[in-house]
């Protein structure tokens, strides 16, 4: 499907994120990360809490705290972003690269209607008029599976269920048809049946829009279902990267084996 010789959509080489400790010694949240992501690909980043998964996403998004020291190269569509100007990052964020968070309640603005926070994205990035933006937003709500969008567009986040809020977040992230969607534990706060719907939606959107997805989660079942490739992180390092079936069938790194064993000890015989 993809031309293997084509340059990747996103390429990280030796990306490190360091935070200064009180003693002046810097600790690595991410250490020499090397990753490639092709258009339309779903790359899973697995690891436990504190492994640096989220810091890796934040570095790609240009959202690391100012105290952090960044090094390495981060190239998105041929453009170096790690030391890009803030203005340039603002143009890309929410437009070519979008982010969805774990908790849709805290990521949405409780004071704005669903419609207002979604049309804002299009007015800022797309130069749409408010009326034109509204038409696009209604269509997007429909395509992420929100029933009765013309009612929901006027409602506030607290009036929606958790699953609906996560759909709204996804819809908002996809409004500008980004090339890359970064998703940080997007289904962890959801019930299993809702999780299944949101994952189906991700697969469907990737198929329809060709969006590449970097999916960060500790849930190996989620990655088994949707990821094409998986990178395993431990203590800031990417310790293993492989195509999904190969990784589950023959994990190479002891840490990957330990994670899989833990999950399987529980999965044994279930579902």
């Amino acid at each position: 499907m993809e031309n293997p010789a084509a340059s990747p959509l996103l390429a990280l080489s030796n990306v490190s994120v360091q935070f200064p400790d009180e003693g002046g010694v810097a600790s690595f949240a991410v250490h020499n990360a090397n990753l490639d992501l092709k258009g339309g690909e779903i790359l899973g980043v697995a690891g436990e809490s504190g492994s640096g998964k989220t810091q890796l996403l934040m570095a790609i998004m240009g959202l690391t705290p100012r105290s952090a020291r960044l090094s390495g190269n981060l190239v998105f569509k041929g453009e170096e972003l790690l030391h890009a100007r803030r203005q340039r990052l603002r143009e890309l964020r929410g437009n070519r690269i979008a982010l969805v968070f774990q908790d849709p309640m805290t990521a949405l603005n409780p004071y704005l209607t669903i419609g207002r926070q979604m049309t804002e994205v299009l007015e800022y990035h797309g130069g749409h008029s408010r009326a034109a933006a509204r038409v696009r937003v209604l269509a997007m709500l429909e395509s992420v599976g929100i029933d009765n969008p013309s009612l929901r567009i006027g409602q506030y986040p607290h009036q929606l269920s958790g699953g609906m809020r996560q759909r709204v977040m996804l819809g908002m992230a996809l409004l500008c048809e980004p090339d890359l969607l970064l998703a940080d534990e997007p289904t962890t706060a959801l019930d299993v049946t809702v999780q299944a719907q949101v994952l189906d939606l991700l697969l469907e959107l990737r198929a329809r829009l060709g969006t590449a997805i970097l999916l960060v989660t500790h849930d190996l079942g989620v990655l088994a279902r949707v990821a094409d490739r998986i990178a395993v992180m431990q203590a800031g390092n990417i310790v293993e990267q492989a195509e999904v079936t190969a990784l589950f069938a023959a994990p190479q790194h002891p840490y990957t084996r330990m994670l899989l064993d833990s999950a399987r000890r529980l999965d044994a015989g279930s579902a």
Binding site: D191, Q195, A196, D219, L220, G221, A224, L266, S270, A271
Partner: protein
Amino acid sequence: MSGPLLLEGRDIAVSYGKKTAIFTALHSVSFTLAKGESLAVVGESGSGKSTLARAVLRLVPLAAGQVLLYGEDLATLSARELRQRRRDLQLIFQDPLASLDPRMQVGDIVAQPLRVFAPQLDAKARRDRVVSQLESVGMPASALARYPHEFSGGQAQRIGIARALIAGPAVLLCDEPVSALDVSIRAQILELLESQRRQRDLALLFIAHDLAAVRFLCSRTLVLFRGEIMEEGGTAALFDAPAHPYTIALLSAALVADPRRVRGRPKLPAASTDFVASAQADACCAYLGRCPHAVQRCAQEKPVLREFAGGRVACHRAEEIASA
């Protein structure tokens, strides 16, 4: 199934709110728990799982029904007697760090139940009990003088389990005890709970939405949806041959760490919403609107919880669904 009956809930109902805006979190929920048995309560958020645990502990008032411990209705006890009875009913929480007082040393946290339930112990005896209890959950004696924030989530949950077990309860209520933990720690904590259950003949009421954990730990499972029991049965039988459409949805949405089993799996069937408009609010099935198998009858007649295939189910179409 194993020992004598220990804990029983009879037609428990719990409502929140005042006259004009009453939300009924549990409708007529009944269950039994025998000595040494492990019963899972599963369901999505808002299904009433945690309310059931609170109702059992009488941390929320019951609108109707009874909770019996050793056949004795907890409502008939005075506040002082109820406090003593809680020795037999201990709780472990979802967020292990939030459930430990950050300003107390671990030794004092774990000793607290002994001060209440075994005030006759002197400091030395209490300390010995705390040390051996900590060791039995895999924590070193050196933890005694340290504070909760010095421990990881898994260690903090071990401390919480030590505190719950030290007074020798008969029932341990576990409210999502592993969902905040990393996967490698999850299995260890579940194994710890299982070994404690076996050693002490402890009964577990295990509230979870993680079906893999339920299968691992619990011999019987009760499925709640919007405060009502949809299905109940032996865990293995229920997981292998679910009879209620909601149980089927839960099981088929669950993911396991095996691409061969979860990739390309079909989407969940869409709900049949044809009869929703004609439904009577209180007379229809709770699962109507989400159920792919709904028929006219489901909108007009609430299915009663009835005996079915060795368990209980509340569905008009259970026979057809189970044999499909």
